[in-house]
Amino acid sequence: MDNDSTPSFVVQLPPPDRFEPTTVVAKLEPNQRQINLLVIVLRIQANPQKTREGHEIHSFKIADRTGSIIFNVWNTTGQLIAIGDILRLQNCITQVFKNELCVKPGRNGIVTKVGEFMMDFNEEPDVSILTASMNTELINYKDRIHSNKRPAQAMS
């Protein structure tokens, strides 16, 4: 049988998974953007809280090998996350919320569960607790933002 005449059977295989964390928990600082993390959910940090718009904020303590931090997420996503889940966080941002550093999904943030239980982690250091130096940096940062905004308001 002629090999050339046989019709081919072409399979478009699913694209390989190319996820790479961009950083680790210990390196997180306030107001970082576009970060990707691979973490495990240690515990539910607090009961879900309602915002004025009626959204539920779910708060978790997450960790990787380098440390732990608080992760805030809204509504359904929060309901679907369970303790011990291994999560991929893509396009997330860091923010100081209630005087604690937290991670939350950004504009195009994606939270994906990729496994459970089997991941090494360290609870310490708890990055959520802001150090004094970080606090001053934060104040400086806010001052900068304010000083940038004010002239713009005057212009308008």
Partner: protein, 1167 residues
Amino acid sequence: MATNNIKLISPDSKLLQYTQIELKDPTDAYLESCFAAIQQNRYTIESNTLVQIGQTNKKSKDHISHALLYGILTDINNKAKCFQDLIALNGTNLSSIIGTLETLIMKNWRRIYDNVRQQLIWFLRETLAANIDGIDRLYYVFLRQINPHEQCLDLCETIIELLLIHPLFLKTYPEMKLLTIYTFLSIFPIYIRRKSQQQQRQIDFIINLTRENIHCLGRDGIRVLIQLGHVREIDAFLKHLSLNTSNDYLPKILSLETEPKYLALPLSFDLERHLQFLLDNCRINSQEKYYFEWFQSQYLNFKQHPDSIYLCSHIIRYVCVVCRNQLNPQKITRWTFISWLLTQLYNYQQTLHQTLISASQTAMNAAAFLSSSSPQLIQINEQIIQCRLAIYYDWFLFDINNLQQMTNEFDTQLNSTIVGYHLLTISYHQAKQMLLFLLYTSENLIVSLKSFLQQNIARLFMELFQRIPILNSQQLLQMFTHDRDTYQRLLTTFFSLPMSTTAISPDNDDIMIINDDISPNAAMPATDDEVPSDIMIMSSNTAATPRFSDDEDDDDDYENRLSSHKSLDQDYDDDDDVLMISDETKTSTDIYNTNIIRSNFPFDRFRSYINEHIQQLSLSYSASTNRNKSSLLIQICKQIASTLSDKRLLTFQTQAIDPAGPITSYAMIKFEKTSEKFQSRLLTTFDEQTIVNGLLCLWLLRDSFPNRLLPSLRISQTNKTNSMLENNFREIPQQKLKRSIKQLSICVLFRLIKDDIPNQDVYIKLIQSMYFFQPEIAYIFLYYLSIDIDDVKMAADIFEKFAKDIIKLSTDHRKTAMPPAKIPTYDQDFIDFILEILTHCEQDDTETFLYLFSYMYRLYSKKFLNNFKLIRLLLHTINQFELEQFMLDILKHRLQLFNSHKLYSIVDQTLLFSQIEQEDFWKLLGAHDFVQNDYEQLFTNIIEHLLNQSKSVIGEQRLAKSIHYTTYRNTIALANVYDILKTKIPTYGLICCLFAHELTKHFSEKLCLLWHEKHHDIFWRYLERILQKWIQRENDQTKQKIDYKIGTIKMANENGLKFILQHLQILLENNSIHIQENKIDQDDLHDQLTIDENLMNIPLSVSTIKSLIDCIHKNEQLYMENKTFIDRLENGNSVVPPPLPTAPAAATTTTTTSASIKRRKLDNNKS
């Protein structure tokens, strides 16, 4: 915050059900893409071209096969066609397809859609029918889904149906037959309860299989059968096993180990993976709380899934047998995990109990309700028994005679038994239950094999005691001291093998103490040959808990105590620097620059100094939570002593650096422990090995330090501060004291000093080195000596030995004293050392301090008398009640704090004290006999000092410094002196002393008047003699002024006359009338009634008055000042008192002391 709302799209799939945040499974994605390729390549699933392409193109064959598989799973209409095509394409070799299916099912069983599951089972059935190669792999994957976690009871039925239809399958794959049996036996407790009525056929089928093949399953086959003992058929089968089979059939099954693959069967794939991960990776103290919580919420959620309790025994068995020991001490151990799991079960049992009781409170008879209607409780009780059996199953069957030591088999057996051994150390409560379980079960599990099982356990205990010496038989037996019957049974069944059967290494002869007092006849008879015919196998119901549950109540009390003990420990934990050597400096030279964290001793760092055996022993000592560890400690200490005694005691390795700062004695312990100076100095006295071993001992004994030493008299210790006030150590019986040191593990070391005389020096060296890191050890040592060594001299000697090097080390580096100061003598240093010890003790526990304080005075009765520093420490500490107790001791001659030697210097120093402390001091002093008896000599000195106070240089300095001094000066002291003297008879010396000083209103005036009133005659007679002497001196021109002395008292040369006049004035003027009135009746010699009021009666001789007046007239100024009084004196009547009954020389002193005799001699010479 608006950015926080994520758009959620769950992956699209026909095979698996995803939540919105889950990632698509790669196998799913691959199968889907293969199937999608059919359409993309413009084919249909029905067409035959696919097969053709697959046959010609090997690359495409795999993809097409998978596409067909996807078709089978998702397309119900075309599944038959797809399957045909698949067979046509691959023949009977479907290995790659089966491989894919394996991965898919293993990872995603829970997420597979129901219809897809049906298709999968259809596929399994078809492949069975078609006799496809490697179908057993697929079958195995399905089999594994049947377990107490996933349950899949429907799958059970389906598979049994399948096996009934295709009986050839199990004949072709005999291994699958065994796996099937084991799987079904382990799911049956759940399956039968749910479906037994309808499914008798299936049950019969499995039981038939079991009958034929049980001998291949090994011992765990019997274990799972026992669990089903309540099923009629199985009960019959077990009876048949024991009755109708040949004698060694059952023992043979039991001796066969069950392979790990069977033990893994009742665990789902996920569970097995997670369990392995947990035991391999979980770090102790940081991760366990999370991993345990996740594990529990996923697999052991008893409330939501009550059937998950059936999982526990299988998990335990798997962990015991299949998992290996971690070598890493940071990682969690298997026994910790099992202990946690058991605790979860107990907790659940308790919750059930509680809910049932509270639910039945409305019911009439709670007890009846409990017993009749709680199947859940029965279940959990059964399962707890099953779990214990799972832990100790290998213990019963550990036949050391059939196992070749050093073989793999022996190792595996030991591996599975170690868990149970360590569990005995984790908690008292558990250990007790486990031992009872071992005892009862060994008697009842298989009656005919009773002695065989018991002997196995006894041998195993022996083996483990030697290999892993955490425990010894005494510790285990001690739990049953209140229950003699059980104690005896345990002793004879488990802990009484004859010595000859095992070779005990000489190091361990202490471990098996219990063997010493057993007759060799108590050994168990050999049982291999004598298996009786009536083998009874205990069914699970007869093994159920009631017989154990009785014991639980007894232990509550103990647990409470244990928990309170723990909380004490936690308090201690807060105080982190007790045993910590801070790691601030990190120089390479000093090896002690290390952080002795309590939970972990840095053996690696000190490897060259600590020998292996000690390391091993101390590791097991610290790992064990059992309370009685003293025999282990004795071993450690003996080992240390033997290693240390081999070598020279002193090695001078480093020359000490010259002292820089001012160093008082005992400054050593105040050094930073990491400083080079400290270490180099330490090395001048101790060699490194001693220091390291000392540190090791400290680390081992770290719990000994925080506790109070003295036992409390009160039963309840709830209010310690109160009990302290009322608790008097003198009332504590000696027995109780002795018991208190027995509880103290550190006393093991001390007792060795007493008992192991040849090595005494080594132990003392060890304690000395420990002292520099932990000064408290000194007073604990002292406390021990006070109780355990009755011979005071021996105790003093031992303590002297202990103190000597410490003092030497501390004083060697003292700066040479500046000229006015003297270098303290050894005795002074010794007192300083004791003071240091007692100060430490005082800070820790006042009661113990007081106890030791009085002990010290008994121990060194001579050395410590009149020691101001010690007295000051006592006075700072003591309260009123304790003071009274001390006074009582002194009065009863049990204690002496002072003697007369230079007592005035102490009195002098007490003037700085606060009022209360001064009062206390005088009370203590007044209680001494010598104060009351030899008061003359003593108080002449004291009064001299007190009244001269303002003139001394030191006094002036103090005047400036001390607020007490300026406020009270010496008034308190004088008031106390007055209190003592007011009951005494006046003496020559005292009167002399009074007249030599200025008149003070509160002291000399009061005292003179009192004596004048009460001891009129004696007083005036002495006074006359004094005045005569004084006048004689005054008139003697040849003597220098400085030598004016009457007795030992210097009379003031300038103001002498003035002082005498002051005294006479108050005596004669103010009280003349009063005295006359008193004297009237007694004075028969002289009729004084007619005397003019203006005339004074002077009880002095005429000549004395005359010479006195002459003296006064010489001093014009004085005469002018006191003109009226002197005139009256001049004109006064001389009324000589009657002569003293005794001779004047003897009358000068009330008692004959050597001091007074000296003084009299001096007087005679001068006169």
